[in-house]
């Protein structure tokens, strides 16, 4: 279905849109950062606590799990895909990690990363090889992986993670929380991947125009499977931070994370129509959502309203995105 749509879309109009997108990219990139800074300034004026260094570090820490997942989500979205199963992969791989940490630090971490990789590969193979719609596949695996996490320990949480594990994934290096460093490194690596590698070019090509990419010799299937695997493994990494911070693994952990990750990617300038996205933008997107929640809490806005606000910000970001991309 979607392939047909791509084919029938007039090439010239498509090219025009993409050309406009390129020219608008600078404005767009700036608007992501400006939006985030403006939000932070507003909260700094409204509360006494927001701008304090310790609170800013807290915001980075609180955004880090989402940021790591959002970076993987960005790559998937750039191929015109979507991964709704990330939260369930967080849950499943963190259960495996917590369980196997007893066998050794590297066993637990390694096994959980493999779980993330395999979950992502399953998504990718179903989407790329069997040509099933990404939305339905990952909606299905969202349920499958969550079920697997519940089956794994019969619904029981796992308490008592090793000190060294918690020190690695929820510790500090020179007063900087390690999850923050992890998120920065992940986003930077993904940025380099998109900007300077052949795979990065191929991701943009597949998302921009799959038919054209195929004609120019890009292995579409391989690119798609790869981005879902990256999304899976980053979800595992995010799961490590989650369980290290709360000191326990719960089979239900990570539920709802997909929405935040998609929101961050979109705020960060990723286009759900494919071909456009920036891992560093998604990092800023995650910070924006994190800062929003933090600021609203400091202002003592009731939690029910905070959900409304988060949703409005995501929609505003899409609106701003559309507006800056409009061919003029």
């Amino acid at each position: 279905m979607s392939d047909l749509k791509t084919l029938s879309r007039p090439g010239t109009a498509d090219q025009k849109v993409r050309a406009a997108a390129r020219s608008g990219e600078l404005i767009q990139k700036a608007s992501v950062a400006i939006g985030c800074v403006a939000l932070f300034l507003v909260f700094s004026l409204l509360t006494k606590t927001f701008y304090q260094p310790s609170n800013l570090i807290d915001i980075m820490l609180q955004s880090s799990i989402n940021a790591v997942i959002a970076v993987g989500m960005t790559l998937v979205i750039m191929t015109k895909g979507i991964d709704l199963s990330v939260g369930s992969i967080v849950g499943l791989s963190s259960m495996v990690a917590a369980h196997l940490l007893a066998q050794g630090l590297l066993v637990g971490i390694g096994a959980a990363l493999v779980v993330g990789l395999v979950c992502g590969a399953i998504n990718g193979i179903l989407i790329a090889k069997l040509k099933l719609p990404d939305f339905i596949v990952t909606l299905g695996t969202l349920s499958v992986y969550r079920g697997a996490a519940l089956i794994y320990t019969d619904g029981q949480p796992i308490y008592g993670l090793s000190k060294e594990f918690r020190a690695i994934f929820a510790g500090h290096v020179l007063d900087v929380p390690t999850p923050v460093i992890l998120a920065l490194v992940v986003a930077a690596l993904a940025f380099l991947l998109v900007r300077f590698t052949a795979l990065g070019e191929q991701i943009i090509a597949v998302g921009g125009n799959e038919e054209a990419a195929k004609l120019s010799g890009v292995n579409i299937e391989r690119v798609k499977i790869t981005v879902y695997m990256v999304s899976g493994i980053l979800s595992s990494l995010a799961g490590f931070v989650l369980i290290a911070r709360i000191g326990a693994a719960e089979p239900i952990g990570g539920s709802g994370f997909e929405l935040q990750a998609i929101g961050s990617a979109v705020i960060g300038g990723a286009s759900l129509f494919g071909g456009i996205g920036n891992p560093l933008g998604s990092l800023i997107g995650a910070l924006t959502l994190g800062g929003l929640q933090n600021g609203l809490t400091l202002m003592n806005i009731p939690s029910f309203w905070q959900y409304v606000a988060s949703g409005v910000v995501v929609i505003l970001a899409v609106f701003a995105d559309q507006w800056t991309r409009k061919p003029r």
Binding site: D58, A170, G247, Q293, P302, S303
Partner: protein
């Protein structure tokens, strides 16, 4: 030039740190984490033991981070806190996660609340460990942490909650009281792994063991869920048509049990007993559907939370566990337990 600027920054940072440190400790003459003589105390005798609640010496600001406000129980705790706080002119901020599974969201909220340096931090954690980092940080800043109900957290100033084993035991004793000549009974259990479920099951089974004529024919998971409880009860009734009573670990499930019993058998023949004392359950008890509920008093627990904050700030060495009240509510006594007002 650059060194001078750097020195200036160092000086400013140092001053800021000093300022915040002295602000945290200036009026704290004592530890907010005292060592008490006993490890627990019943809330009904705390006045006798420690005297009246000390009035605040200045305008205080406390923060409460709870599980979720889509659950009546936690709404009542929050209402109790606000009610008691307003009595003492204390400003009370309340924040909640979106559901009882959002552990990391709750941790983030609690950290943000703590960054405002409240005079006391009241918490109802999602699990035994998810708010541990916040309790640790509060302890370092000598800000008292009061845990209200369910999951405990090591290292907090005190814990307010009722005796869950006694709740299960009271349910069994009630079944014995209405069926002195015995009968077949069943239990619908709360979510596996939840401390409240574990302790209520334990209390119910232990007490039931004392009455040899009361036979536990089934104890099935209800997962704190009304529909799951309904289905489980329907299955039990099919296997045991002469069932005499069902104890559900909470009222939501008990209301599901009521549905199952009224469609498969009769509420006259099967006595349904719940736990918590939520409004709908009390209505059901009053209408003669549910036979009883072993009630906790979340509104009272909220009030106790504010009182314990004041006691801790007033340097009273209160114990680690404040046992909050519980009572069996029946059709006869339901009028004695009016619903708390929540605005």
């Amino acid at each position: 030039m650059t060194t001078r600027i750097r020195d200036m920054w160092v000086a400013i940072t140092a001053l800021a740190l000093l300022g915040s440190a002295s602000a945290a400790f200036a009026d704290d003459a004592c530890s907010a984490y005292p060592k008490a003589k006993t490890d627990k105390i019943d809330s009904s005798v705390i006045d006798k033991e420690f005297g009246a609640v000390p009035a605040p010496k200045k305008k205080l600001h406390i923060a409460y981070v709870t599980k979720t406000l889509i659950n009546e129980f936690w709404q009542d705790v929050a209402a109790g806190i606000k009610d008691e706080a307003s009595k003492y002119g204390i400003a009370a901020d309340v924040q909640a996660a979106k559901d009882e599974n959002s552990m990391i969201e709750q941790l983030n909220l609690a950290q943000t609340m703590l960054s405002q340096k409240p005079d006391a931090l009241l918490l109802s954690p999602q699990s035994d460990s998810n708010l541990a980092p916040v309790v640790e940080a509060a302890r370092a800043a000598n800000i008292p942490t009061i845990i209200i109900d369910d999951a405990r957290t090591d290292g907090a100033s005190t814990y307010i909650g009722t005796d869950q084993v006694a709740i299960g035991a009271k349910a069994a004793a009630f079944l014995h009281q209405i069926y002195p000549s015995g009968g077949k009974v069943a239990q619908i259990e709360g979510a596996a792994g939840s401390p409240n479920a574990r302790l209520r099951i334990k209390g119910f089974k232990e007490e039931l063991g004392k009455y040899s004529n009361l036979q536990l024919v089934a104890s099935q998971p209800g997962n704190w869920d009304r529909l799951t409880a309904l289905n489980a009860t329907a299955n039990i009734l099919r296997a045991t048509p002469d069932l005499a009573g069902v104890y559900a670990n909470n009222d939501g499930m008990a209301l599901g049990v009521v549905e199952a019993v009224s469609s498969a058998s009769s509420l006259d023949k099967v006595a349904v007993v719940g736990t918590d004392g939520i409004r709908q359950a009390k209505k059901s008890v009053g209408a003669g559907e549910m036979r009883a509920t072993v009630a906790e008093f979340p509104f009272e627990e909220g009030k106790l939370g504010v009182q314990m904050s004041l006691r801790l700030l007033g340097c009273q060495a209160i114990p680690q566990w404040i046992i909050s009240p519980q009572a069996v509510i029946t059709k006869e006594s339901v009028k004695d337990f009016p619903d708390p007002k929540v605005n």
